[in-house]
């Protein structure tokens, strides 16, 4: 059955007239995903790759009421507005490709999606920001995951993959595919400090998904999402097998607070350190891969 992206997925692209938006819209359609409409304020009435463009989500929904997923590829300064519009129109799932969104804007969008402080949130789920996307091999994809042709790297199977890194989502899936191990759904949650969907959030989905037998987590130093997942596994809220790979030992040889490739991969003191993550995951019975290439033999 897979998670998040299924045969019922109907996609709207916010920012469809932009370079990334139009490119990814075409990629998704080529992979068999149903892309019904796009939105770019002020550009309604146009078509991109044969996909109709509207000025607002409201207008798009009026014409395509089955839309249930929005893919956001707008510049960072416009990302909060785009997320807010999707949330207030009660789109159940939004995937945000945009990188470098101010942390305050992400925090506000997460709060809106949860529905605190107002009535407009209705359990919208945000995957991202800085997300490579979501792919359920053989079914469809949302986002730029897999690029033009995901078929070589991603294959259908029973392993769920959750990764902070887009590149590593691909590398891990390729390593699995090469050994004949397919994936149920691969999700890039993004490497920002605040993310709409965490490892723990997605483990809940994978727990319920019959297709998924094992989950691979690609984590890295910084934040507490790996520790939260460990806590959940320890409390038996996730009961399937988990294999984890954690990166970032190198970063700990640098001064505290040094900025690396991902905004979230930043350590101040003990909190979010490599040691803390490995310790809590091991205590929860998670199998730790020492290199990415060990993963197939461990799943």
């Amino acid at each position: 059955m897979a998670i998040l992206v299924t045969d019922k997925t109907r996609v709207l692209v916010q920012g469809i007239t932009g370079k990334e938006g139009s490119k990814v819209a075409l990629q998704m359609r080529n992979y068999g995903t149903k892309v019904l409409a796009g939105v770019t304020p002020g550009k309604g009435g146009q078509e991109v790759q044969g996909i109709p463009v509207y000025n607002s989500i409201e207008e798009a929904l009026k014409n395509h009421p089955t839309i249930n997923t929005s893919f956001i590829a707008v510049p960072n300064f416009a990302a909060f507005g785009a997320m807010e519009e999707a949330i207030s129109n009660k789109i159940p799932l939004i995937n945000v490709l945009t990188e470098h969104i101010p942390i305050k804007d992400t925090a506000k969008a997460i709060a809106l999606a949860r529905g605190n402080g107002s009535q407009i949130g209705s359990g919208t789920r945000i995957v991202g920001p800085s997300s490579i996307g979501i792919i359920s091999p053989g079914i469809g994809k949302v986002g730029s995951i897999g690029g033009d042709d995901p078929r070589g790297v991603y294959s259908k199977g029973s392993v769920g993959v959750i990764s902070k890194s887009g590149g590593m989502a691909s590398e891990v899936s390729w390593i699995l595919t090469k050994k004949g191990i397919g994936q149920s759904t691969v999700v890039g949650i993004g490497g920002d400090i605040l993310t709409g969907c965490t490892f723990a959030d997605l483990l809940e989905d994978f727990e319920k998904d019959e297709q998924t037998k094992t989950v691979v987590i690609f984590g890295e130093i910084g934040g507490t999402y790996e520790e939260d997942a460990a806590e959940m596994i320890k409390n038996k809220k996730f009961t399937k097998k988990v294999v984890a790979f954690i990166s970032g030992l190198f970063a700990e040889s640098l001064p505290a607070g040094t900025k690396l490739g991902h905004a979230g991969a930043i350590v101040y003191g003990e909190k979010g350190s490599y040691k803390s993550k490995i310790k809590s995951l091991e205590a929860a019975g998670v199998i730790i891969a020492k290199t990415p290439d060990e993963i197939p033999s461990l799943v």
């Binding site: 925090a107 402080g117 890194s165 939260d228 001064p255 607070g257 690396l260 490739g261 991969a265």
Partner: protein, 385 residues
């Protein structure tokens, strides 16, 4: 970006938070104009400044090195009589996925002490919790303003002091307390730089000025949003040049290199399908270092980065490096157009005399760490016998 204390205190003042009377010394020749008892505070970015001798009542601290950082500016402040000390900060929590206020008694050393964390609803703003001291509500509201107005990741006052004298007039009135921020630690959210009214000069957490390469590398992405290359670049002490792909993959590979005893000359990453000009510029910067023993161009199996474009950018940069690199160059990459890139690279290597060792997606990414370490340090091993 982490701010210096004096910069953070400027933001505090802008939002009405009391700070002691002060003066910034920018050279040892600057005269202290404050009267009465003063305290000299080295303006450095490392923590635990007091333990490292960065605070003094007698000496102006110029010429000193604090945790490896040379003192170039000193903040002189009027000494205040402290009645009580607190810790107060706003930051983002990955546990609540929103802002939190952290509050506690005590001053320095508070990390080990008792603090309490309160969730703040970002849509409503700061609302004082019931068990929060009423005399601190005003300063907490103002610190929340600093935190949101200037798009901070952290706005911290430690210590936050209760004093008996008005910090601006120095007069005391019986029964009247004043709340003063004695230190300031602010981390700005770099992703909000585009909309923040106040700009601060770039700085380097390594306790040294940015190197020429670091400054040059950061310029590559300026005004060009097509992918990223060089925005994150740090010079390190080693001898293996690294051009790594991906915010996540680059760290995985650095881990692998270091665990095998490889000494990286730099850390950098590129991602999001940068055009070849960006890779050309980055390559020239990475390889202009003297005494390199090898170069490792490494990345996973890309989703959408065009491998042909990035590797051709690498070659174009390589051709302009002088003297011509005669050390081993290990390349491991996968993704769109990789086969076409490898075929052309092979020919270029043979024709132009570069020692390329090319690996595709069939070869485990981190296993090429061993390849570069073995090749780069081959001569060293021979000498050691």
């Amino acid at each position: 970006m982490l701010l210096y204390e004096f910069e953070g205190k400027q933001l505090f003042k802008n939002c009405g938070i009391n700070v002691p009377m002060s003066q910034l010394l920018e050279s040892p020749k600057d005269q202290v104009s404050l009267v009465g008892d003063v305290i000299f505070k080295a303006q450095v970015l490392s923590g635990k400044r007091a333990d490292a001798g960065g605070i003094s009542k007698e000496n102006n601290l110029f010429g000193k090195t604090i945790n490896g950082e040379k003192v170039e500016k000193v903040l002189v402040e009027e000494l205040v009589d402290i009645d009580k000390e607190y810790y107060l900060s706003f930051s983002y929590s990955t546990e609540t996925r929103g802002p939190v206020m952290t509050f506690g008694k005590g001053g320095t050393g508070v990390e080990k002490g008792v603090t309490k964390t309160y969730q703040v609803d970002i849509l409503k703003g700061f609302v004082s919790p019931k068990d929060f001291p009423s005399e601190l509500i005003d300063v907490a509201e103002k610190l929340w303003q600093v935190f949101t107005k200037y798009d901070c990741e952290l706005a911290e006052i430690n210590p936050l002091a209760i004093v008996k004298r008005d910090p601006s007039t120095r007069s005391a009135r019986s029964g009247q307390n004043y709340v003063v921020a004695l230190d300031a630690k602010i981390i700005l959210d770099d992703d909000s730089d585009f909309r923040r009214e106040i700009k601060f000069p770039q700085r380097n957490l390594f306790g040294r000025a940015s190197t020429e390469s670091e400054i040059e590398a950061r310029k590559i992405d300026e005004g060009d949003h097509r992918g990223t290359a060089g925005s994150v670049y740090w010079d390190l002490d080693g001898d293996i040049a690294v051009i790594a792909a991906g915010g996540g993959g680059s760290i995985v590979n650095m881990d692998a290199l270091i665990s095998l005893g490889g000494k990286p000359a730099n850390y950098t990453e590129h991602s999001g399908n940068p055009p070849r000009e960006k890779l050309k510029r980055l390559t020239k910067i990475v390889l202009q270092k003297p005494n390199l023993k090898g170069c490792w161009f490494v990345g996973g199996t890309a989703n959408f980065t065009d491998i042909y474009e990035t590797l051709m950018g690498f070659v174009e940069g390589l051709r302009e490096v002088s003297p011509k690199p005669n050390y081993p160059i290990v390349i491991r990459r996968g993704g769109p157009n990789d086969k076409k890139a490898f075929e052309e690279l092979k020919q270029i290597g043979e024709k132009e005399g570069f020692e390329f060792h090319i690996f595709g997606r069939e070869t485990p990414m981190t296993s090429t760490a061993k390849t570069i370490v073995d090749l780069a340090y081959k001569e060293d091993k021979k000498i050691r016998g």
